[in-house]
Symmetry: C2
Subunit: 216 residues, 2 copies
């Protein structure tokens, strides 16, 4: 998250899942050894931010993502140069970094999409509670991680369905676009959970915060 | 600042300088031994948050505040039960915690107001650059601290007049009201400074971040 509360800039699209402007994941997550291993690449940075990235991958049995995090554009599923004549299979490439079942919230039904490396995308059209139920079943007792984007994370927080919140504060100002806490803007107090800080790790640039969410 | 970027809730007023909802200074600053000493009280909490509070007071030769931080209401200067028959002299009481010259940005001219303990409020009606000039002159080589609120801090940031930024992230969600980075919302990229994280301190609840502001 940028210091001004954004997970992505304005004008999100299939090709620009972080919108315009600086990407708050740049400068730490995408460079870590952990993330590079998740996409089948070698090398990458080690240190406190890599430790946090590694810790966040432990014990995850399923992910939930919004459509832009899968790489869906504003229209129905279509083609894209990356995939040649194949239908669009997301912007993560053939071996996405999840390696578990992934439940993608969308308005466009589609059959499950099995990728390399253990990732299968399931497309859920009947809402966040259904997606959570399916993800819990698929996770087999492990944790379900809500991977974003901002709108999806914010909806789950407002629904009281989040136990822990990890926020990585990047030294950037984005000024608009996808806000993590957008569900709470101008809303009533009762929807806002209380938070308890349970862990802080300082990377060279980024501050990694972990909160327990005290739902009402 | 709350985790969702607010320094105060909605409906700021003279009597409620932090607006509606939780006050992000509660839970750390107001309880510290350092702040209590500034208002002439004994006791208070020690530990990392108190260390940060103490550090932030060192070497300050003048403050700049917005009118709500002085305790000005929406109307012209008037009376208030706290002050009996005297004209309103701010909500900090007879011995405010500044102990230096304080320059208050306002649209309502008023003669300087000398308080106990070395604080003199000067009322500046000709804008933020004039206030900074006057504060620098008064500080005699020491630092000028922009004490807030959100609107004033945001204006100075947008004007490229801030060298260092301290943000104390409180585990609260406020959902609206006075946002620290409101000057940058939807604005052009050029107005937004880059930031460099130079120090993190973790208190029991609050994360204290200090950035160098890299103005264009």
């Amino acid at each position: 998250m940028s210091l001004d509360g954004c997970l992505a800039g304005p004008n999100l699209s299939r090709e620009r899942p972080f919108g315009d402007g600086p990407n708050p994941l740049d400068g730490w997550f995408l460079q870590t050894r952990t993330f590079r291993a998740q996409i089948g690449e070698e090398g990458g940075e080690t240190g406190p931010s890599d430790d946090v990235a590694a810790e966040s991958m432990v014990g995850i049995g399923a992910y939930i993502l919004g459509r832009n995090m899968f790489g869906g554009g504003p229209g129905p599923w279509g083609e894209h140069p990356q995939w040649g004549d194949e239908p669009w299979r997301g912007w993560w490439g053939p071996n996405p970094p999840y390696h578990t079942p992934v439940f993608v919230l969308t308005h466009h039904p589609r059959d499950p999409l099995e990728m390399e490396g253990g990732t299968t995308f399931h497309f859920v059209t009947d809402g966040i509670e259904s997606a959570l139920r399916q993800a819990r079943d698929a996770a087999g007792g492990k944790d379900v991680r809500i991977g974003g984007g901002a709108s999806v994370a914010s909806q789950y927080l407002a629904a009281g369905l989040v136990d822990e919140l990890e926020v990585h504060i990047s030294p950037t100002l984005i000024g608009g676009g996808a806000r993590l806490f957008q569900s709470f803007h101008g809303g009533d107090d009762e929807k806002r959970p209380a938070l308890e800080l349970i862990r802080t790790v300082t990377g060279p640039e980024v501050t990694h915060l972990k909160y327990r969410v005290l739902n009402h």
